[in-house]
Symmetry: C2
Subunit: 116 residues, 2 copies
DNA sequence: AAATCACTAAACCATATGGTTGACTATTTC
DNA sequence: GAAATAGTCAACCATATGGTTTAGTGATTT
């Protein structure tokens, strides 16, 4: 992990914690969409989706390009990569623990320490 | 991704969206800790940390083992793996898009289509 | 048995969230 | 230029969140 603000991670994971927002990301994976297109599959109002999109945008998971009156939305894989790396930081550490554990077991079996 | 409930992902990402909870996970990476130990570095009350730990527990990021009056907490890397896979699902799709794009470019250069 | 320790439970509070509706702005179409 | 379209903004509401404090439970120590 490079130099990522904790508050960036807050926003990132928070944005990912809502099923509507994850669904929007899924749609964006299949290509660019407008706000209207993104709101179509949902029962809730376009205004509600607009809010979700703003949250994704502020988490930098989504980019918006205004073309006249329509807004073209695309996914930003960079932000996803940051979230992934953050998680890997934890699992990697844990894997190291496993290695240390295994190494300890091995060395104990080979030459058990007696004191200190 | 196997068969993960959307609500599980909600809880997972939500649990990861708080800096206190991520800090707790960091501590657990260095080994088992009790609730008291985990609460020590923070300015907030032990009760507040207890709540955070419950959230991590319900997200299955943390396991608790009661030994007498103390609770030993450990990290559960399985849950982290699920979150990681979920994110990879999005980036992977996006990478495929890149591949398709590159392939299109290539085929266009080699033998430009005229119609259909 | 009394006191202490490690922790949970519950009540409370301010603020944030996820949704609604109605009004507004700017672009496009007729 | 009037109407329709694509979207935002703002006010509002019920509920969730993150913290506090006080009280309670069960294990350990003295």
């Amino acid at each position: 992990m490079v130099n990522i603000l904790s508050s960036d991670l807050d926003n990132l994971f928070y944005a990912l914690s809502d099923p509507t927002r994850r669904q929007i990301l899924k749609m964006l994976n299949e290509g660019t969409h407008t706000i209207g297109e993104l709101s179509d599959p949902f029962k809730m109002s376009l205004q509600a989706i607009s809010k979700h999109i703003k949250i994704l945008e502020s988490a930098k998971l989504l980019n918006r390009k205004k073309l006249g009156r329509i807004h073209e939305c695309t996914i930003n894989p960079e932000a996803l990569k940051i979230a992934e790396e953050c998680i890997q930081f934890y699992t990697q550490f844990w894997n190291n623990q496993l290695d240390v554990f295994a190494a300890n077991l091995e060395s104990k079996n080979k030459s058990p320490k007696r004191s200190k």
